[in-house]
Symmetry: C2
Subunit: 406 residues, 2 copies
């Protein structure tokens, strides 16, 4: 008998009918001799409906009460799934964050899991075949209900699996992780394996199948993760520490596309790190989230290109002007219609010529490169937003040919 953690997302438990489908999937697994801890999200639109109710009674709902309110969503789906399992003659019971002893920090709406009291879970698993756990929620040191922020149920599931030292299976309406978001590159293939570090870099990949906080926990505790579809038996994607030995590590595993970027370029600045400190300090203080930064220095003058995620261009301009007050001779240009396209792969560490293939592919697709940054396992470029799709397609095609070229 093996113990396994499974997680079903909101679209997998959206209706009573969906919940019965999930129950049948669990029943089949139990019939194979496994015991399960199943983490569930709230049903479909429940969370949005509750937020809308909150906004009807308050112009700025208290975060503490919002968490108290939202946590009812998972309790509802957990209880219903346990009932559906009973109806199929599988012994099951639901546990909420109080009952499971999920301790978190006290930051409402975005708490972090601090500890889990596994003795309670193990105790209950002695009596029943399936324990259904409310995802997304925990209890603060003051005994208040907290929620874990976006993707929180993934985090709950992976944390439970990490603490139990067992595998974790994440089910949703997507069949796994793809080499590129299928909405951008429909021909992108589903990946059999992804390494934790790649998954972290590819957070934007694969229609948000998996949240990066959960992956960080999986990496830290080496939890075997699996992402698959609730509604089909198609094989999904395994996220692991290292690939199986028989599998050669590809150079590039996936292509990530982030459409929501804005490019800012400053030219003619005097050299000096203090200026950068002032500049990025000022932007951070104004709540501007800076992503890619490239600097080029020549002849005592520095040019800086950086990209900004979801900021307002007027605010960026104001922040920059404020930070550079008293300095002359510089100019600012901006472009709010750019996208970031990245190739990610731990194989880059040991392969040469990846950058050449990367830029050659973009060149072949006539994509303009507006800025570049690299890490050990990633190359990112800023491109005009309307060329992002072509860029991704070209990169998917280039790096999918790896086997022929190896």
């Amino acid at each position: 008998m093996a113990l396994v953690v499974q997680k079903y997302g909101g679209s997998s438990v959206a209706t009573a009918g969906h919940i019965k489908t999930v129950a049948r999937k669990i029943v089949d697994r139990v019939a194979r001799g496994d015991r399960l801890a199943v983490v569930v999200s709230a049903m479909g639109d429940t969370t949005d409906d509750l937020i809308s109710l909150a906004e009807q009674v308050s112009s700025s709902p208290s975060p503490r009460e919002m968490d108290m309110l939202l946590s009812t969503g998972e309790q509802t789906s957990a209880a219903l799934l346990a009932m559906a399992l009973h109806d199929m003659e599988v012994s099951a019971l639901s546990l909420n964050a109080f009952q499971l002893g999920i301790e978190t920090t006290g930051r409402f709406r975005d708490a972090r899991i601090v500890d889990l009291d596994l003795s309670r879970l193990r105790h209950r698993l002695e009596d029943v075949q399936v324990v259904v756990i409310t995802g997304f929620q925990g209890i603060s040191p003051d005994g208040d209900v907290t929620t874990l922020g976006r993707g929180g149920s993934d985090t709950s599931a992976i944390a439970v699996a990490a603490k139990l030292g067992v595998p974790c299976e994440i089910y949703s309406d997507v069949a796994g992780i793809y080499a590129c978001d299928p909405r951008v590159v429909p021909e992108a293939k589903k990946l059999d394996y992804v390494v934790y570090d790649e998954m972290l870099e590819m957070a934007a990949l694969g229609a948000k199948v998996l949240h990066s906080r959960g992956v960080e926990i999986a990496k830290k505790y080496e939890v075997d993760l699996y992402c698959g579809s609730t509604f089909s038996d198609e094989e999904g994607t395994r996220i692991v520490n290292t690939l199986p030995e028989w599998l050669e590590q590809p150079v590039v595993t996936g292509i990530a596309v982030d459409m929501d970027q804005m490019k800012v370029t400053l030219e003619g600045l005097p050299d000096g790190v203090d200026l950068l400190t002032r500049l990025f300090g000022c932007l951070a203080a104004d709540g501007v989230n800076v992503d890619m930064i490239s600097t080029v220095s020549a002849g005592g003058r520095t040019s800086i290109t950086f990209s900004v995620v979801s900021g307002h261009i007027c605010q960026v301009r104001d922040s920059v002007r404020e930070s550079l007050e008293g300095i002359d001779g510089w100019s600012l240009s901006d472009d709010s219609t750019v996208a970031k396209v990245s190739a990610v792969g731990v194989g880059m560490k040991t392969s040469s010529g990846v950058a050449a293939r990367f830029f050659s592919a973009l060149d072949g697709a006539e994509v303009s490169v507006l800025g570049t940054t690299t890490s050990e396992i990633k190359i990112s470029v800023l491109v005009p937003r309307d060329q992002a799709g072509d860029a991704a397609k070209a990169l998917v095609a280039e790096f999918d040919r790896r086997e022929e070229q190896a």
Copy 2:
């Protein structure tokens, strides 16, 4: 500064708009310098909606999971009310059964409160003006969520008030307790005061404003209870241990009508208590709920009339035949179209002639009396169901004239 417990029922928090109305009522009270522990029910039809969801996933939902499911209803309304109070600049927070430490028995769907951990409530009331408490729910010795059965939120509120030693105000869409159900006798007056024992006898009175389990707790711990309307400032009804000294105790406080009775008469039985034991033992074993019992014995033969609540006449006949097997010479007759009409008043203990006035009023209204039982503070008669309204009207009129006659 006084501490007060208030309870708002499901119809009082049915929508976001209703919740804001309740919040304004609380804000006014806080402005007068009071601190409040407010117990809430689930919003309007929430409980029914959740039960319907449960029935969609299971043909006979597990009671444990049903309680887990239903308890989300009160948590939702409690969080929303706390948010609405914040929005009106009153400090408030919601607490569920885990947070408040409401210990109950382990009987799902119908648990009894065993204890409350008031230290947590008092601690929170040091920081905020209003603590909003989820009604209807508790935690079993095993740490499972339980619910308290019909009227459970009244019980929660009264138990909190009892433990704190403070008054309890029950708000609903009814303005108080009436001398008779206004649907039966529209001219029945609202009562200013009712004594606990009367309230217990009058459980069927006043459109189910107050559940008898709560009243039992109120009586035991002498909690000052008040029943009033959420939506008007009209003065409601106080339920107390003894009336204020300046108020003369009326002979009859209220007239209760129970339309759902069935009358069974046995004649020609041999005398003997053992026979009654067999008869009522057999009915109880078959789940028949016997209410009024009258026996008349003469010439060595006994006649028995009893009334049955919500049973099936065939089952009653079978039970009776089974229990009287081997005995000859008796006959059974039954009437399934009867009602019970009762006059209740602790003043009966010290007044004479109440029975005479009672029967004279019925006689004046040409009501047939099919059976009678009395207690220290109640006279009940069985009457043909179609005469129950006339009987109630006549009794309300008769005993409302007490002041002239005193």
